[in-house]
């Protein structure tokens, strides 16, 4: 007679690692980009004193940063800025730089221990720091190029917020990016105005005219085709994924509908698809799929 004791063994396993479990499974909701309506996020983002939670996992943060970076590079629109994640990362970079500096000062003092071996950790630290800084720089540059491209669109969005009394731009961009966006579009506007627009009739002077034959506002191309990897694994409180369904073969998948073709598609977990961005944008913001 076979007795299935897998669950009992699992229980025992859990007991031994209970302490680690507590620290690592700490619900880190701060980087959730889905919170477009999350006022709490906005408030805490506005708060300059962001404390770095020592228990939050550094490796996890790095992986999240890479995911954000990748999504930003491939998506046609400007994605919400991960305020908490970036604040933590920047503080860590600062700490690391100071740490390396103090370490290398120690090398100066006692020169007798200066061998190749003792230098290796320092070299690794420096290389690692450079890698991290590269990712951050590339991420921000990519965002800036998008802000340039859609500056009129973003401006129009901020002028007519969907929720009254609530500035959407603060959620979408960091403070520096908002500053850049405002100043850059002002400079551009001044150039256009002084060189061309002031010579035109008054009704043609608008830079954001949508009534004419062609709309002057460049919107993101919502139907851009993107490559996605379906990773799944976003669980709610009850431990199940509410959006997960099963396809005809009983495999777990998400089902999405392409409106224009009226076609339903099953996205299997772990598979790669080429699909329109507008179809998967919700799943991407939840972290259920990532762009590649």
């Amino acid at each position: 007679m076979d007795i299935d004791i897998d669950d009992i063994l699992a229980e025992l396993d859990r007991d031994t690692t209970a302490v680690e479990q507590n620290s690592s499974s700490y619900p880190d909701q701060s980087d959730d980009t889905r919170g477009a309506n999350d006022l709490a996020l906005l408030k805490s983002a506005a708060n300059t004193e962001i404390t770095v939670d020592p228990t939050s996992n550094k490796i996890e943060d790095y992986q999240k940063l890479v995911t954000h970076w990748r999504n930003e590079r491939m998506s046609p629109e400007l994605l919400p800025y991960p305020h908490h994640l970036m604040a933590r990362t920047l503080v860590r970079i600062q700490d690391r730089m100071e740490f390396i500096e103090t370490l290398s000062m120690g090398y100066l003092e006692d020169s007798r221990e200066l061998t190749v071996d003792s230098k290796l950790p320092l070299l690794c630290m420096e290389a690692e720091l450079e890698r991290l800084k590269f990712v951050v720089r590339s991420f921000i540059r990519c965002r800036l190029s998008k802000i340039d491209k859609y500056s009129i669109y973003l401006r129009q969005q901020s002028d007519s917020p969907e929720i009254p009394g609530f500035n959407r731009l603060d959620l979408l961009m960091s403070k520096e990016e908002v500053k850049y966006h405002m100043k850059h579009s002002n400079i551009l506007l001044k150039l256009f105005n002084s060189s061309v627009l002031k010579h035109l009739p008054e009704e043609l002077q608008a830079i954001n005219d949508t009534e004419g034959s062609i709309s002057m506002i460049d919107e993101p191309d919502w139907n851009k085709t993107v490559f996605i990897l379906v990773c799944g694994g976003v669980l709610d409180e009850t431990g199940v994924d509410p959006k997960l369904t099963t396809d005809d073969d009983g495999k777990p998948c998400y089902s999405v509908v392409i409106e224009e073709l009226n076609e339903e598609i099953y996205l299997l977990i772990g598979a790669v698809y080429v699909i329109r961005y507008s179809v998967i944008v919700e799943l991407m913001k939840d972290g259920r799929v990532i762009l590649i």
């Binding site: 034959s213 062609i214 709309s215 002057m216 506002i217 460049d218």
Partner: protein, 188 residues
């Protein structure tokens, strides 16, 4: 297609044949004789950016009070670009067609035309053509030699002459990416 897209602006400048449905005073300069009225049924070649509004908007006359569609200012005549002769050539062998000599902005114009008239046949022909030519473009784009500067044989040079502007940008992207990939794999 964006407002500041240069290729779109160039494509919009292409002239299309059309016929006026009204006699309009003062517009004679379109025909070349300034100061005269433009006469009814006169045939003209006008740029697309002008024509695509004029062919939709009609004169507001008092008699027909919105009951029927007002007659637009101009009527677009079927252009040389999408004549049956051209469509048959596309259907018979899209890959060997010299698209650049038909029009350097063929796809953009065809897209506009199909949108303006909801032309299903034309869009079907376009889709097939793009697929067929896309394979050919891919073939030529991936076969790049790493070290020669030009990176093209006589064959592909001839083929490149037949691409329109949109296909050229596709070819350029593919070619550059393949080259970079090869470089990275071979040289590090």
């Amino acid at each position: 297609m964006g407002y500041y897209d240069i290729d779109d602006i160039l494509a919009d400048g292409t002239r299309f044949p059309c016929r006026f449905n009204y006699e309009i005073p003062g517009l004679g300069y379109l025909e070349g004789n300034t100061g005269r009225p433009i006469s009814k049924h006169s045939k003209l070649e006008l740029p697309l950016w002008m024509v695509h509004l004029l062919a939709v908007v009609g004169a507001e006359s008092g008699e027909d009070s919105g009951a029927e569609e007002p007659l637009p200012f101009v009527e677009l005549l079927p252009p040389e670009l999408f004549a049956p002769r051209v469509l048959n050539a596309i259907k018979s062998g899209a890959a060997s067609l010299d698209l650049h000599s038909i029009s350097p902005h063929f796809y953009t114009l065809a897209e506009r035309w199909a949108t303006l008239f909801s032309d299903k046949d034309l869009s079907q022909v376009l889709k097939d053509m793009l697929l067929e030519r896309g394979q050919e473009i891919n073939n030529y784009a991936v076969s790049v030699s790493l070290f020669s500067h030009r990176g093209q044989t006589n064959d592909s040079a001839v083929f490149l002459q037949t691409l329109d502007e949109f296909e050229k940008s596709v070819y350029r992207d593919t070619n550059v990416n393949c080259k970079e990939m090869k470089k990275w794999l071979a040289l590090k």
